[in-house]
Every structure is written in structure tokens, then in C-alpha cells.
Symmetry: C2
Subunit: 223 residues, 2 copies
DNA sequence: TTATTTAAGATAGTAATACTATTATATAAT
DNA sequence: ATTATATAATAGTATTACTATCTTAAATAA
């Protein structure tokens, strides 16, 4: 079975919906490729324009600035992750198993077709790990937040918090625990690859290590 | 009682030691003020030069680029934090109490004189919360890490991990747990102020909330 | 005291970036 | 056939992250 999912990304993130044109779609896809390759700081609108055989002016007709492009990508990811959580938890009654599935989803690469039209899931995963905090660690966070651009992240957090509360209704910090496992899955994966002394990785794959670490601590907390 | 502490910051972070001159010291102090006020992205060498009544050329004689200035500030913080942990844990035999002290230190503002010569501790604290991850979430992390610029962070991690292992020698992930409580103290404080829906803050102060959350979380894991 | 070293200040300049504005052209809808 | 709309092409601005050079002031050594 194979299917595609589409999400309505918050209109206030873009000036013109990139989903509605070929250049627009190419723009987002190539942004993912470039941010993965160069890192967000070295990624520029000029480089993106060159990559899509177009001009800076065209890019600026879709996005106000490069921060908006990152936000767009992350919004897509948060929506996709929430969809995946909902999908994979369907018909699972065992709440322990539900939590295990969530941790697995958060710590492993997104599955998905690697077609030419699709976003590169491996790249997207790396962007989430290395760049996602740059969407909110900005001085004008309050202004940006007014546009509800973090709603998909909050929704994902809410959904996970709900499962935590169903598993243990007495646990006092379901939302904070939810964001902690999300953020921890990012920084432990980053550290285990780049600054391994900050972790306890051994020979196993970093995603597997992070999965084990988070599963271990999650159940110690909620049990 | 009042005393000052000095740390030998890794020589590879600066070109000329800012501690050895008045402009140098002023440069670091004003960088803290400006990064706090503007955020790291809006902070520029030009603005810093103007602030210290000097020129960009002078700043560049001390630091290669603005990333190095952030690294210098964070290195100072990590050294200071490790010193504080060592100092506050002196003569404490109860390991549970030791862990409580560590969590308190990580989640509360640094104490310290607010003299004109000292770094502004309130600002420094905010920089640690909002900007510290930008020291390592960069594409050239591998290159940068070769200069041992993250040694103070690793040392802090090692020291906390040691206390965790002394408390519970069977716990398998002391280093990862150590970095997790450090990083969690940052993002939960940030979220509780700026994106409170991602947390469970109520009316209490965000540092107090974060302290309670992490203490609860830590002891459920290591007990 | 004089000579030498050293750091800071003043000034200028470059390449890259994040935009904005304008016009011409191609395409699609009416 | 006309109109609306999007894109491409081009140009331009302000800011930034640097680099280079030259002068001046101060500290140090002979």
C-alpha cells in the first residue's frame, strides 16, 4: 500500500502557497536539500534561487525570509509526525505499547517513498535534529508566536501528553514530559554523533541508542 | 564573604586574550549585554565596536568571528557552573541532597555581585537558555570540536554524571541523563516563558517550575 | 634617555547577504 | 481578444562579516 498525505500549512507562514505551483513545490523540496547540505546559517535565498533555476525575487514572492522557509518545513514535519502518531496508534489498546511506538517514531528516520517529488526524509530528519530549535530560539518569538506558527508542534505535544496521561493519570507534568522526550530525541541523536562524550553511546546506531535511553527513562517516570 | 573566580579559557577560542586588556574585558562584558538585548542573530561586531567606543578592527584582533565570542561566553559559563557545583557539593555526603543542589543550580539564576566590572548574571543566564545550543548546532561542529572548545561542557557533564553514578551505580546512562537535565533546564525555562502550552507551568515562577519538574523526573529515573 | 616593540585607533575597501523595486514576457482565464 | 496573474530579468540598497594599511600612543628594553 502506498499513499500520500497533504497538510494545510498555516497561511501566515508563506506569502503565496508553494503547494499551488511547480516552482513553489520545487522551492520547498530544494530548500530541504540545501539546508541539509549547508546548514541553516549557510543556506541563502540566492543559493536556493540558483538551485531552482530562478531568481531571488521569485523566492521572495513565496516566503518573506529564510526563517519562514524553515518554519514551513518544520510545520510540515510536525503535522506529519502528528499524523504518523495518530495512524500508528490506531487500534492499539495497550498504552505501554502506544508509548513505545511514540518513542520509536521520535527517534527513527521517517519512512516514506524516496520519489523525485517527495521530500527527502533522511534530510528532513537531520534538519529536525539540527535546525528545529532555531525556529523558536529567536528574539522575536513573541511576535512570531502570535501567528500560531507553533500550533502543529503544540498539537503534537498535546497528543503525546494525552497518551502519557492515559497511561498514568496521576503524573503531574504530561506536557513538559512530552516536549522533553521530543527535544531529548533531537539533542541525544545530535550529541551521540557529534559530541559522543556527552552521551553513553556505544557501538550501536545512534537512533537505536536514543530510543533505548528515552524508553528507559520514560517508563521509569510514568510507571 | 566575597570572592572572585577566574578561569583559563581555551586559547584556541580567541586570537588575543580579552582578559589581558581593558578593551578586551569591556568587549566580553558588552557582548553579554548586547547578545541579551538583541539576540545572537541581531548581534553584530559593528554594534559591539560602537558600544565599546572602538572599531571593528579592534574586535577582530581579539576574536575571529562572532561565533567565537559566543563560545567564549559559554565556556566561561560552563567553567563557572562546574566550579559552583564543586563548591556547593563540598562536604555534602548525602547524594540525594547533592543531586537536589545540582538541579537547583541548573534551574536558577547565577548568584553573584552585580558590580560594574562583573558580567551581568541575569543576562548571562538568559543567554545560556536562549543561545547556548547555537554554539554546537552548526554545520562545522566536527572542525570546531577539534579545538576542544566543548571541554568545559563535557567536564560539567562528567561531574554531574559522577554524582548520578554514585547515587545509583546501576543506572546505565549517567552522561546522557546529565546532558538531558542540563538541556531540559534550558528549554523548559524557555518554553514556560515563551510557549507555555508546551509545558505544565502554572502560576509559579518558571525557574521554580522547571526545578520541580526536573527534580521529580530525575529521582524517578535514578531511584 | 632613546629606541623598539606592541596594541589600539582611524580609515578604507571587498564580497556576500537580505532584501526591494521595476519592467518585460509568458501563460491562463474570461 | 482582452485581461489578469505569475515569473524572469535586471538593478539597486543597506548591512554585514570580514581584511588591509597606516598612524598614534603607550609600555618596555637598551
Amino acid at each position: 500500500m502506498n499513499f500520500q498525505v497533504k497538510f494545510d500549512i498555516n497561511e501566515r507562514i508563506y506569502l503565496r502557497n508553494p503547494e499551488n505551483s511547480e516552482v513553489g513545490k520545487l522551492m520547498v523540496k530544494k530548500s530541504i536539500d540545501l539546508i541539509y547540505q549547508l546548514g541553516f546559517e549557510q543556506f541563502t535565498i540566492k543559493k536556493l534561487a540558483t538551485e531552482i533555476n530562478s531568481t531571488e525575487a521569485t523566492v521572495y514572492r513565496y516566503f518573506e525570509n529564510k526563517h519562514s522557509i524553515l518554519l514551513y518545513i518544520l510545520n510540515w514535519y510536525w503535522c506529519y509526525m502528528e499524523f504518523l502518531v495518530a495512524y500508528k496508534l490506531e487500534n492499539i489498546t495497550d498504552k505501554k505499547e502506544s508509548l513505545r511506538i511514540i518513542v520509536h517514531l521520535l527517534t527513527h528516520e521517517l519512512a516514506g517513498s524516496e520519489s523525485h517529488f517527495d521530500y527527502n526524509k533522511k534530510y528532513l530528519n537531520q534538519i529536525v535534529i539540527s535546525e528545529s530549535s532555531k525556529t523558536y530560539l529567536v528574539k522575536d518569538i513573541t511576535e512570531i508566536n502570535k501567528n500560531e506558527v507553533f500550533k502543529p508542534y503544540k498539537d503534537l505535544c498535546t497528543r503525546i501528553a494525552k497518551v502519557i496521561s492515559e497511561y498514568n493519570p496521576n503524573y503531574k507534568y504530561p506536557r513538559s514530559l512530552s516536549t522533553t522526550i521530543i527535544e531529548t530525541s533531537h539533542h541525544q541523536q545530535f550529541f551521540s554523533v557529534n559530541l559522543p562524550k556527552l552521551t553513553d553511546v556505544n557501538s550501536i546506531k545512534n537512533s537505536e541508542f536514543t530510543n533505548q535511553f528515552i524508553e528507559d527513562f520514560l517508563f521509569k517516570i510514568v510507571d
